[in-house]
């Protein structure tokens, strides 16, 4: 029986005085006990579909036509009060950000209890018992302690488990999971996905699983809908879509994602960005045409209809047969500079954070323990590990943002461990850092031109005309037009801001770039653009880079050598291919097992992650 059926749903927004389509021609049916994956980049309308199901649309947005049948009732036309009764009871939600999904001033117990109270689970003691059972079902131990905790005392993975427990408390018929694992570490992601799948198959829940990760969706979903600018691009059985994509967008998404196994290949970088709300209205024809490698004149004339590829597999493309021909540019590794002399050496780095509670109680926590490695000229070295593994602290130590407790740092033949003025000057001219979140790393009150030449301004002795021409040169190098120098960061997209952040680091022409998670949080197509940019810069400028990331596939694509960190220590290091193909440490194996395989026909066994996991989640 179909639990959720969408029939030609369209959502519009009033925007700039006009009506703009946000979701167009959305149709699908989701039987009980099945998982439908909604895949696409940000702005594709995935989350808007989740909000449409709950009918909690942002102001100015409304459903223009179509019907959304849930268990025989049309959610769109249901009176608000009746619909509210369904929410949290028959339709449950799991959010993207588990930490902010729980109220910070109420204990976990109070929040669960409030939910159970609404679901009529009897009196207080019964509700408490039920709450403990629920926490047990999501594999959270120490349930009784947990009930008295506040959300900030829990890790993101634990919060997500609590939210999943609440979502399944009422045995819902439909679960909408909106990027439930995006904010979590890879190993935690695998276990959360597994948990949802476990409860889902036990309760025969229909699940709408929203994700940007096509690989993940191919593994866990029965059906996938790929969305582009609010319109379905391709719908069909998960494996078909992954192994035989018919829409160029699906194919490009796949090719722009680096892999963890198989031969290394270059990334396909989709140009530009998905059209925003203001642009969609002006587009005649296929919404993807402007970025499509297979575009022909007919594509820009009319909106492509849904075309059957195979039974149950449709795509909105008029030349699906050409999609297979899309291929990434060939691998150009041969041109890369060869690694030379050691440029940066870390010897026995240790960093201990002390925190004090009250007058007497003090605790010490070693974020980095005895870390030693070298970075050679022209070499890209990756550091991987989960959050809390100390990888960011290593970056901060090397930049001089943090002073190490023990150990030595030698940069370009000079020991800078003392942290004195001369050392710091030396450090600054050789090492520059690019931060994770460009939004907060760029001063919102400065123009791009002055941001990227901050180092020149600080050094003094340059005229503003010199700085402007330097800024324009830097911007052209990172692929932004010279006019961008006059913009403010808020006027740029996320990917463009990260480019500006890179340009700023390149201003002093450093030998070493330290990049801390610089592509996480970006869409795959933007990530591919940035990774290709880094490769191009590497060819042109021959600098060394320390690339910190939790994403193993990105590190595999970019780095020659890799260090695996866990709880402040380097547990394994070596050439990337060797470490990824035959990991020697159990933790590395666990990390690799947690990544959904590139081939959807391979059975994903994230249980491999079990080896290392107990230590990681033992934060209570």
């Amino acid at each position: 029986m179909d639990m959720l059926i969408a029939r030609d749903v369209s959502v519009t927004a009033s925007f700039d005085g006009g009506i703009v389509p946000v979701i167009q021609e959305l149709s699908f049916s989701l039987p009980a006990g099945r998982i439908l994956g909604l895949v696409g980049e940000s702005g594709a309308g995935k989350s808007m579909i989740g909000r449409t199901i709950a009918q909690l649309l942002p102001p100015g947005f409304s459903v223009a036509s179509g019907e959304l049948m849930f268990d025989g009732q049309d959610l769109i036309r249901l009176p608000a009060e009746t619909r509210r009764e369904l929410l949290g009871r028959d339709i449950a939600f799991v959010p993207q950000e588990p930490l902010s999904g729980l109220n910070p001033v109420l204990t976990i117990g109070r929040q669960i209890d409030e939910h159970l109270g609404r679901l009529n689970f009897g009196h207080a003691r019964l509700r408490r018992e039920r709450a403990l059972d629920m926490l047990n079902a999501v594999h959270l131990s120490h349930g009784a302690d947990l009930l008295d905790k506040y959300p900030h005392q829990l890790s993101g993975g634990m919060c997500q488990r609590v939210l999943i427990a609440m979502a399944f408390a009422s045995k819902p018929k439909l679960l909408v999971a909106d990027e439930p694992t995006t904010a979590l570490d890879v190993t935690i992601q695998a276990r959360i996905v597994e948990l949802i799948a476990e409860l889902q198959s036990r309760e025969k829940t229909a699940v709408v699983f929203i994700t940007h990760d096509l690989r993940l969706a191919a593994q866990i979903c029965d059906n996938i809908m790929v969305l582009y600018a609010g319109r379905p691009a391709e719908v069909g059985p998960a494996r078909d879509i992954f192994s035989n994509p018919a829409h160029p967008y699906t194919r490009c998404l796949q090719l722009s994602n680096p892999t963890v196994s198989g031969p290394r290949r270059d990334l396909y970088a989709l140009p530009e960005r998905m059209p925003g709300l203001s642009a969609i209205k002006g587009i005649v024809g296929c919404l993807f045409a402007a970025r499509c490698p297979n575009v022909i004149e007919a594509c820009t004339k009319a909106l492509p209809p849904f075309i059957d590829i195979e039974p149950g597999h449709v795509a909105t493309c008029i030349r699906p047969e050409a999609t297979k021909a899309i291929a990434p540019p060939g691998l150009q590794r041969a041109e890369l500079p060869q690694a030379g002399q050691p440029l940066l050496e870390a010897k026995g780095l240790t960093k201990i954070f002390k925190s004090s509670h009250g007058f007497f109680r003090r605790t010490a926590f070693a974020a980095v323990k005895d870390v030693s490695f070298t970075l050679n000229e022209g070499e890209f070295v990756g550091i991987v590990g989960e959050s809390g593994s100390g990888k960011s602290t290593v970056a901060r130590l090397l930049c001089g943002l943090e002073k190490s407790g023990e150990g030595a740092i030698v940069i370009a033949d000079r020991d800078v461990t003392d942290g004195g003025a001369v050392s710091r000057q030396h450090q600054r001219t050789h090492v520059q850092m690019v931060f994770q979140d460009p939004q907060s790393a760029l001063n919102p009150r400065r123009r791009v031109g002055s941001i990227v030449t901050q180092a020149m301004e600080a050094a003094g002795g340059s005229t503003s005309a010199e700085r402007l021409s330097r800024a324009e040169a830097l911007l052209s190098e990172i692929g932004l037009p010279p006019e961008a120098a006059l913009r403010f960061p808020a006027q740029l997209s996320g990917g463009q801001r990260q480019r500006v952040s890179i340009a700023r680091a390149l201003c002093v022409a450093p030998n070493i770039l330290i990049a801390d998670e610089i592509v996480s949080g970006l869409d795959v197509s933007v990530q591919a653009q940035l990774l290709n940019l880094l490769m191009a810069l590497r060819r042109r400028r021959s600098f060394s880079m320390l690339f910190i990331s939790h994403d193993l596939s990105v590190v595999r694509y970019l780095c020659d050598r890799v260090l695996v960190m866990r709880l402040g220590e380097v547990v394994e290091s070596g050439p990337t291919e060797q470490v990824f193909a035959s990991p020697s440490h159990a933790y590395t194996r666990a990390l690799l097992a947690a990544v959904p395989p590139d081939d959807p026909t391979v059975i994903w066994n994230p249980r491999g992650a079990e080896v290392a996991a107990p230590v990681l989640t033992a934060t209570l």
Binding site: P59, L86, V105, L106, H152, L163
Partner: protein
């Protein structure tokens, strides 16, 4: 719930000692600079220069300033705040007789400001994006830009003179006498079983506390509204809706407790200003509190009283800040130590 409150109060007490020392020294220095001669004021008007000089030596005024401060501090430490030059009475007694009146007025005004502020803030938030919001917003700006003494005068004209509904001088009707006790009239009258005195005291407090409270409410309104707007952007509010909770429950159970936090720290600061603001209102309503005592003391250059009243204001403000911060700690689990 109380974890961390006691250490906080302890730390505040230690800090308060230093703050009080600094404030008292500043008071001492500033008053020393005033062109008045306490010795000349402490002797009969027909005293000779020699007699004044003798008094000066007796009072220790010929010694260096820091020695004088030391002497004064030593006496204060023993509870001796000196004798009023004008009233010829112990300063401590004078201050203790007027302080409760002022605290009563300030507390009542704060209650008025809080009730109006919270109600106005909720109303502003509830009507967000409508014309009603704009109207209330305009009203709140009008309240914000009218100082408390204008309200005081306006109320006297309205409810004292044009419509003589309420009394507007003193704390009690002239035919009543203060019951003995703590000095807090509302409390003492109820304790003594005298509802007539209680009622009279309330009637006398209505106009001054309204004048003060109204003047301080709009800031609370506006901060509460903006923190509500912030809180409603949070994921947990959205998720509470997705769990099917009613809007009313989301507002009162989930949003209010989060939105009240910034408002609360503002109210702590506000109360300090409000306590200072009682001065003008007390003078306008001839309300026998600390403010009137202070004004008289300044007019008479009654240095011991000015010093003691200045310190009293300081102590009260420090106490209020400690209470507000403790409350903040209790309400915000993130600040509590694990």
């Amino acid at each position: 719930m109380m974890t961390g409150v006691l250490p906080l109060v302890g730390r505040r007490l230690v800090a308060s000692v230093f703050i009080l020392l600094i404030v008292s020294f500043l008071l001492f220095v500033v008053l020393h600079v005033l062109p008045v001669d306490p010795a000349a004021m402490s002797v009969p008007p027909n005293a000779t220069l020699a007699e004044i000089e003798a008094k000066r030596v007796e009072m220790g005024l010929d010694r260096p300033l820091y020695v004088q401060y030391g002497i004064w501090l030593g006496q204060v430490a023993h509870g001796d705040f000196g004798t009023s030059i004008h009233f010829r009475r112990g300063v401590l007694g004078l201050v203790m007789a007027t302080l409760p009146a002022t605290i009563e007025l300030a507390l009542l005004s704060m209650i008025v400001a809080t009730v109006l502020g919270l109600a106005g803030g909720l109303l502003l938030f509830h009507t967000r994006g409508t014309r009603t919001e704009k109207a209330i917003d305009f009203g709140s700006i009008l309240l914000l830009s009218t100082p408390e003494f204008l309200w005081a005068l306006f109320f006297i004209l309205m409810f004292g003179v044009a419509l003589p509904l309420l009394p507007f001088t003193g704390r009690l009707d002239p035919n009543m006498s203060l019951p003995a006790g703590t000095g807090f009239l509302l409390f003492d009258s109820l304790y003594a079983g005298r509802p007539d005195i209680f009622w009279s005291a309330v009637r006398h407090l209505i106009m001054p506390s309204l004048a003060l409270g109204i003047a301080f409410s709009p800031t609370i309104m506006r901060v509460l509204r903006s923190s509500f707007l912030d809180v409603y952007q949070e994921d947990y509010i959205h998720l509470a809706r997705l769990r099917g909770l009613s809007e009313r429950r989301i507002l009162l159970r989930h949003a209010l407790k989060n939105a009240i936090l910034p408002t609360l720290s503002l109210m702590g600061v506000q109360f300090g200003f409000l306590f200072g603001g009682t001065l003008l209102v007390e003078v306008i309503y001839s309300y026998p509190g600390l403010g009137n005592l202070m004004v008289d003391a300044v007019r008479n250059a009654d240095l011991p009283i000015i010093q003691a009243v200045g310190l009293a204001y300081c102590v009260v403000v420090l106490m209020i800040n400690t209470i507000v911060d403790s409350l903040y700690l209790v309400l915000n689990p993130k600040l509590r130590l694990r």
